[in-house]
Amino acid sequence: MTKVLLVDDDPSILESLGPFLSRTGFEVLLASDGLEALERIAMDPPVLIVLDVLMPRLDGRELLRRLRREGNWTPVLLLTQVGESVERALALEEGADDYLNKPFDPHELVARMRAILRRARPGKPPLSAAWELRCGDLLLDRRSRRVSLHGEEFILTPRALALLEYLMTHPDELLTRERLLDAVWGWDYPAGTRAVDTRIAELRKALGDDPAQARYIETVPGQGYRFAPDVEAVT
């Protein structure tokens, strides 16, 4: 069975989400703060960690940093509480594989966990931990926030860049508008999905990507978008 570690300091979250994850077929380990999680991970390594950010003793962000520093690339899904883009950018910098804003639908959590597990390459850093990403002629330098196509740099609005970053770290995955809105904007807004379409259009224009014959961003009718599968980390 797939062993996952759920870390949250709020007992109500552990009490309700734990059994839910068990019922959906995971073997669930629980920890109520970062230090306890570290002990658990050392004793009984999980294949995926679902991690809350704000916790006493050792918070989720610090735990993640420690793991990555030790070269532990166990996939991590970060549960953020505040919808600030700063926090999300940080999560990426620290090598979280995905993040989900509270409150969330538990089914959505499971879908994300499965997607991470599908993407994971055991023992190797995930794309989300790479500083530079390449997809064909498209190159994204996440540290300097620069993008280039065929070696030529171009300018994007900060939000379009954040969107491209999320797309490139989640290649070949169906991403709904709601999910992109939650992940990149931190919004839980029905009207906001229009904002996603606007930024996708901006990206496509900059990339010279024809929606009918997409090289990079494919439209999945009635559902969302999917980024090309051939994304690799530049080392």
């Binding site: 600030e84 409150p103 009207a191 229009r194």
Partner: protein, 301 residues
């Protein structure tokens, strides 16, 4: 600060009295002339201090009083906000509790289904409220993106989007955007936030009117601002409610029974102010309402 000015005033008064006493004791002194002149000078200096000190003391006292009244006002606003928040949370929670109680006694699967749906919808209501609260809090702290934004396009999109809603098409929604002598100038700001603001106003116009009503969406400029107007032939906003609609979680009488968090207009105002603009309302009960959103034109063009 205030006490400091008072002390300077008192010091000035002291210097004046001292100078006067010195002057009075000057009789039969060989340095008489010099002393009289010096005492007059010192008296003048004291007078200056007295006047300056009193003026500043009065000013700082006035300032403090204003600060106090502002503080009281925001205290009062905070209390009102908490009262409303309490109210907004109480209702969905009560209904969830009732739903959970019903779930145990519901006999048929059909009943249970409908109870579950009702619980879900109350949970959604609380989620929406939380999303709006978070958005407001973020607006205060997070810097906004600054790009060149076409408000005319946003107005067109908002119209399309509300027309997709069931029933919205029963209203006549007209759109007027200038083309001559030039199109509506671009503004500088965060497109997603401006869309949210305009969309909220248009959505409100649909929400608070009935089938057959007229809604007019207009855009124009005055040389330094782009102005968006959302006008409707709805019930209008009562005079006594007009100042309150901007407050967080305030819901007017017309809003009872309608969906919404009571944060929509507070958001619109916060977004307008973040862009250096403003939003105003004019309304006549029984005739309708017009909201106007003013955003400064992008000066870089």
């Amino acid at each position: 600060m205030k006490a400091g000015w008072l002390a300077i005033g008192v010091l000035g008064l002291g210097v004046m009295l001292g100078a006067a006493a010195w002057n009075a004791s000057a009789a039969a002194n060989p340095w008489l002339v010099i002393r009289v002149q010096a005492s007059v000078l010192i008296f003048g200096f004291g007078l200056l201090l007295l006047v300056l000190g009193s003026i500043e003391w009065l000013r700082s006292r006035h300032f403090e009083q204003r600060l106090n009244s502002l503080r009281k006002e925001s205290e009062e606003e905070r209390r009102r906000f908490l009262r409303r928040l309490d109210h907004e949370l109480k209702n969905p929670l009560t209904s969830i509790l009732a739903g959970l109680a019903n779930l145990d006694s519901d006999e048929s699967e059909e009943d249970r289904q409908s109870t579950r749906r009702s619980i879900q919808s109350q949970v959604q209501r609380m989620r929406d409220l939380l999303a709006d609260l978070r958005k407001l809090a973020e607006l205060e702290t997070r810097p906004i993106e600054s790009g060149r934004v076409d408000l005319a396009e946003i107005l067109r999109e908002s119209r399309e989007m509300v027309l997709e809603k069931p029933g919205a098409g029963d209203r006549r929604i007209d759109l007027t955007i200038p083309h001559a002598p030039w199109p509506l100038p671009l503004v500088s700001g965060d497109r997603d936030l401006l869309f949210l603001a305009v969309h909220n106003l248009v959505e409100n116009a649909v929400k608070f009117t009935e089938a057959g009503a007229r809604i007019e969406l207009r855009a124009y400029e005055d040389g330094s601002n782009a102005i968006i107007e959302v006008a409707d032939t709805g019930p209008g906003i009562p005079d006594e409610e007009r100042a309150l609609i901007w407050e967080e979680l305030y819901r007017g009488r017309a809003a009872s029974g309608l969906p919404g968090s009571g944060l929509g207009l507070a958001l619109v105002r916060a977004i307008a102010e973040k862009h250096g603009g403003k939003v105003l309302v004019r309304s006549r009960p029984g005739q309708g309402t017009v909201f106007s959103l003013t955003i400064p034109i992008d000066s870089v063009i």
